[in-house]
């Protein structure tokens, strides 16, 4: 393997990792705060891409990118809050909420995907990339879009991290995820925080969808494959800290890039799933997780 190939594999891995990090962060936000797994996350990704396309594409409204993205974020946050009220909130107090949430979010995901199909039709679409420039760095070929993606994702993750760490609602959300009862006793508005967490998760999914929409073709089920990858990432890294799925995302991204090179594009995902199952067998709490006995 010559150094150029090696570097371009690493480059591909980092870009994959950045996308996975964005998706996995949204997923783990809901998981840690609400204690449920949101299977509609993949559909959120697709929805974000379609909404952004609707605002920005020359075939639709044709707005400039920045307002389109901002408005998409707002729409996604709202969709997240609404779906939280429809799919999760009614069952919050049930003892089998984990299973029920799986069922309702799966159903919600089916509704969203088929809704997309009804509204925008089956024809593939693509969002215009923000920039079309290209850069050659010591023999390494990079598009400015790729650089922008890496920078933006890192900035978004940093922003979410700062929000969780320093802002009042962010800190409240972490408190709720650590101990719901205690947080409630201290006067935190838990239902509101749950709604915010769900909305924020949908927002990050929407952003991931926009990035995906610029580099791949869009179709209603475009989120299901990234969702599976995000699932692998979250399990692989655990959700002990905000940063653990991010590290895991880059590891998985690199692993996928290398195994695609070595085993081919078809077998690479299988390698990831095998890795995940092995991790679960050895360390069910995830690579960066702390062992906790759950009842």
């Amino acid at each position: 393997m010559d150094p150029i190939t090696l570097i371009s594999i690493i480059k591909g891995g980092l870009i994959l990792g950045a996308l996975y990090a964005l998706m996995a962060t949204g997923l783990s936000l809901v998981w840690t705060t609400l204690g449920i797994f949101n299977f509609a996350h993949g559909a959120f990704i697709a929805l974000g891409a379609y909404v952004a396309w609707q605002f920005s594409s020359a075939d639709a409204l044709g707005w400039p990118m920045l307002p389109a993205v901002l408005l998409t974020c707002a729409v996604m946050f709202l969709v997240g809050v609404i779906l939280h009220f429809l799919l999760v909130k009614p069952f919050e107090r049930r003892s089998d909420v984990v299973l029920i949430a799986v069922i309702t979010t799966l159903a919600g995901s089916t509704i969203l995907e088929n809704g997309l199909l009804l509204i925008w039709g089956p024809r593939s679409k693509q969002i215009e990339p923000l920039t079309r420039g290209e850069v050659d760095l010591a023999g390494l070929h990079l598009t400015t879009a790729e650089i922008l993606l890496l920078v933006l994702v890192l900035a978004i993750l940093l922003g979410i991290g700062m929000f969780l760490r320093y802002s009042r609602p962010g800190r409240s959300m972490r408190a709720v995820s650590q101990n719901r009862e205690a947080a409630q006793l201290l006067g935190l508005d838990v239902p509101k925080l749950y709604a915010i967490a769900f909305g924020l998760s949908a927002l990050t999914a929407g952003l991931a969808g926009i990035f995906l929409g610029t580099i791949r073709f869009m179709h209603p089920a475009m989120g299901s494959e990234p969702l599976m990858k995000a699932l692998v990432v979250v399990i692989f890294g655990g959700v002990a800290r905000f940063s653990s799925p991010i590290y895991a995302a880059f590891i998985i991204g690199l692993l996928e890039a290398f195994s695609t090179y070595i085993f081919g594009v078809y077998w690479a995902p299988a390698v990831l799933f095998v890795t995940m199952i092995v991790v679960l067998l050895v360390k069910p709490e995830g690579l960066f997780g702390k062992y906790q006995r759950t009842l």
Binding site: F37, V98, L99, V102, L106, T110, N114, L231, L280, L281
Partner: protein
């Protein structure tokens, strides 16, 4: 506690026979291929959904790779029958085997995990299988799948001929075999262990159930017919496509399972037929098909978590409530003279805050009062022999518990429990104007008597029980105090078949004779909810308070069990700590059964009279601490 009557003795037999006749007749009535096609799909979905229910509903194992097990059956058939040229029938059998083997593989990562992790790992596993199928395109055909698979034949006759009638009956047979298999498995040791692990994992493990082995076996048992159904499905449609791994198929099966009702066998079977028809009908509407099914899933989970099966049960319960309530109201007037002749007491109805209660009272306020509390599914006339023999010296009072005899039915949540029964006994005594009373309680009535005395709102001058092991800790002491090899488990069963009613009546009171026939006639009147709620609410009673009362021994107390009581563990009752018990130990009525006052009235009356006399004189010689209390 084992009481599993064979299917032919339960109430499910006739609906089942009707369904079988209807399904066998169906293809001869509906000859169009399409109608048969929908039913064949329904058979397959019913098999997969019920099998899934064994691991998910019965075992609480959220195996989301179940659909992948179905796909394993499909591809096993496709590869064996087409690529390798194996006989299609053998290939179908092999589908069951490979599916069970894959289930064993899935169980390995699942063994150590709980809750949501099981869901995630099984989904990952199913994705892994999907990716392998997609990737190994030289064997499986990749994303385009395999087509023109061999069809099933018998001696050269193609099952798809004559409007697919052959496939119809093979599918029906497979479904019947699957139901029989699940019916037997859920009643086997494995099935009980599976349910026990779901209900109370750590207790089950402490009782020696291996979690790992049970999980693996549960998953394998749920896989066998899933694989067979997959292979049959492939043979029928002659196509193996990776779509079988998809979320659409998963959602469809999940909706069948949930709408039918998780944790039941019949619910998903019924739902499979309904949803297959609806789904086929909706398939012309494209994307709307999945949207409608998904909305329906959410609505069922929100509004009707128990599914169709729960709805059927609720209707049945409402009907039964009307039946028993009407029966009680009718008998209140029509049989009254007969009942009063039997007991020699006058019967009147009193209002309590729980229900209308029928009270038999011999009146005569100057005599010492004596209250009798009857047992589960019985009535106050059970004591008619004591009404006759003791009314000369005592004012004898007995009442029908709510939901029993000619009393009205009550709100099950608040009424059908021992604490409410004790409060009703207080209300009855207040209505009679009695403030000092000797109490005798039989079986469930024994707990009512104990609770009445422990509450201390009424002065109990003497307390005797029969057929009642006092409890300290439930459910442990329930297991210790009763003999599990009896019809006891019926005491908490909502609906009795004729056989069960006879069994329970025979064991609880007496085998049917001219003397006991009225008790057997009364039994079906009992509100089934009274049995269920009483049993499930057994843990809300302050049992330790009763035990403390018995250990303190301030109230003259006697135990007068039948020596041949089939329900009791006599050793447990003898070993308890009684601070003061008549003659120092439980006194057995020789030859008496669960209702000694009914089976051996003379011996019982002799003992009971002696106890009442001693209680009145309060002689320390006859009331001694039990052996346990003396050594303590």
């Amino acid at each position: 506690m084992r009481y599993d009557p064979p299917l032919q003795k339960t109430q499910g037999l006739w609906p089942l026979l009707l369904a079988v006749v209807a399904l066998v007749a169906y293809p001869f009535v509906f000859e169009a291929t399409y109608f048969r096609h929908v039913m064949i799909l329904a058979f397959v979905f019913a098999i997969v959904a019920t099998s899934w229910d064994f691991s998910l509903g019965f075992g609480g194992l959220f195996n989301f790779a179940h659909v992948a097990l179905f796909a394993v059956g499909i591809y096993t058939y496709a590869i064996l029958a087409k690529t390798l040229g194996v006989s299609p029938w053998l290939a179908i059998l092999a589908g069951g085997f490979t599916s069970a083997f894959v289930a064993l593989l899935i169980s390995i990562p699942v063994l150590r995990l709980d809750g949501i992790y099981v869901i995630l790992v099984t989904i990952a596993f199913s994705q892994l299988l999907y990716l392998i199928v997609i990737s190994a395109s030289s064997v499986t055909g990749g994303t385009s799948g395999m087509v023109t698979l061999p069809t099933l034949t018998i001696n050269g006759y193609r099952l798809s001929g004559d409007g697919r009638i052959g496939y119809y009956f093979v599918g029906l047979g497979l479904l019947a075999a699957n139901i029989l298999f699940l019916y037997l498995v859920t009643r086997s040791r494995l099935g009980r262990a599976t349910v026990a692990l779901k209900d109370n994992k750590y207790y089950a493990i402490a009782r020696g159930i291996s979690e790992a082995r049970t999980r693996a076996l549960t998953l394998m048992a749920s896989a066998v017919f899933t694989g067979l159904a997959g292979a049959f499905y492939a043979a029928y449609l002659r196509v193996a496509s990776p779509d079988a791994f998809g979320m659409g198929f998963l959602t469809l099966l999940l909706s069948i399972l949930l709408m039918g009702g998780a944790g039941t066998i019949w619910g998903p079977v019924i739902a499979a037929f309904g949803i297959s028809v609806i789904s086929e009908w909706l398939s012309g509407f494209g994307a709307w098909q999945n949207i409608v099914i998904s909305v329906a899933i959410i609505l069922v989970v929100v509004l009707y978590p128990g599914g169709l099966w729960a709805a059927i049960q609720e209707i049945r319960e409402a009907v039964d409530n009307v039946r028993t309530g009407t029966l009680a109201r009718l008998r209140r007037n029509r049989g009254r003279a007969e009942r009063e002749a039997l007991t020699g007491a006058t019967e009147r109805m009193i209002r309590t805050r729980f229900a209308e209660i029928a009270v038999a009272d011999t009146g005569e306020a100057e005599k010492p009062a004596l209250l009798f509390c009857h047992g589960n599914s019985a009535c106050k006339e059970a004591f008619y022999k004591q009404f006759r023999s003791m009314s000369d010296t005592h004012r004898v009072i007995a009442f029908d518990l709510p939901g029993h005899g000619v009393s009205g039915n009550g709100d099950p949540e608040t009424t059908y429990n021992v604490a409410a029964y004790a409060e009703i006994a207080e209300a009855v005594l207040a209505d009679c104007g009695v403030d000092k009373v000797a109490v005798f309680g039989w079986s469930l009535g024994g707990y009512v008597a104990l609770e009445l005395a422990a509450r201390g709102n009424v002065e109990v001058t003497a307390l005797a029980i029969a057929g009642t092991p006092p409890l300290a800790v439930v459910p442990e002491d329930f297991g210790n105090g009763y003999n599990p090899d009896s019809h006891l488990v019926l005491a908490g069963k909502q609906y009795f078949s004729r056989q069960e009613a006879r069994d329970y009546g025979n064991s609880a009171t007496a085998p049917i004779s001219a003397d006991s026939a009225f008790m057997h006639r009364n039994l079906p009147r009992t509100d089934g909810r009274a049995r269920v709620y009483m049993m499930t609410k057994i843990s809300i009673i302050d049992w330790p308070r009763q035990m403390r009362m018995l250990a303190e021994g301030r109230i003259p107390f006697a135990i007068l069990n039948g020596s041949d009581d089939p329900f009791l563990n006599h050793g447990y009752i003898a070993r308890l700590n009684y601070g003061s018990i008549w003659r120092g130990a439980p006194q057995d009525i020789m030859g008496g059964r669960h209702a000694p006052f009914f089976n051996k009235p003379d011996a019982f009356d002799l003992a009971f009279y002696a106890f009442l006399r001693d209680a009145e004189s309060g002689s320390d010689a006859t009331f001694r601490p039990s052996r346990m209390a003396a050594t303590a």
